[in-house]
């Protein structure tokens, strides 16, 4: 069994390798919760490439990420290794145009 340290390193790897990284319930094609579906829809609308990880399929991932981000719910969005927030935050940032700015800034890195 992997130690917690190894599991946290794997989470970090996902975040490092995907400049837009979404931890969600279900997958892009079939989100398993309305909040995850909403964020997928927004990212798809913006036509960006992103990594999406289903926290329901990998053992430990769900509880580990809650602890890693210190955030109790899903989805969780990271852009440029920075924790952005959950569904409500993503929706608000999308409505104000901030999300688009954050995404635009990641392509220059």
């Amino acid at each position: 069994m992997k130690s917690k340290e190894e599991r946290f390193l794997e989470i970090e790897k996902k975040i490092n390798e995907n400049s837009i990284c979404l931890f969600m319930k279900g997958n892009k094609e079939m989100p398993q919760c309305g909040f995850s579906a909403k964020v997928v829809h927004i990212l798809d609308t913006l036509k960006v490439t992103y990594g999406a990880f289903d926290v329901l399929t990998e053992p430990f991932l769900r509880e580990d990420i809650k602890e890693y981000s210190n955030w109790p719910t899903f989805p969780q969005l990271y852009i440029n290794k920075e924790f952005i927030g959950g569904c409500d935050i993503v929706v608000e940032l999308f409505q104000t145009g901030e999300l688009q700015k954050l995404i635009a800034s990641q392509t220059t890195i």
């Binding site: 919760c33 309305g34 909040f35 109790p72 924790f83 927030g85 569904c87 409500d88 935050i89 608000e92």
Partner: protein, 82 residues
């Protein structure tokens, strides 16, 4: 559940007003509008962190779907004067 949310927020956030809605009338998918001067100067993320931290014990078990909108007292007033 709605009472518990209100009580916890009132206990942890300064001078807070909580408007809770149950738009689907199912007791599960709840929406909260939370107005408190303690949000002043905080980023959106930190406001939500504050709320989520206050409700932490609920998220581990019975609370499944809560949408959150936060306003400082001033923002709320401005929104309603428009």
């Amino acid at each position: 559940m709605e009472e518990t949310i209100k009580t916890l927020l009132e206990k942890k956030l300064e001078d807070v007003t909580v408007i809770l809605k149950d738009p689907r009338n199912d007791g599960v998918h709840l929406e909260a509008v939370i107005i408190s001067p303690s949000f002043t100067g905080l980023s959106l993320l930190n406001r939500h962190r504050k709320v989520k931290d206050s409700l932490k014990e609920l998220f581990t078990k019975e609370l499944h779907a809560l949408s959150i909108k936060t306003y400082t007292t001033l923002e709320w007033r401005e929104k309603h004067e428009k």
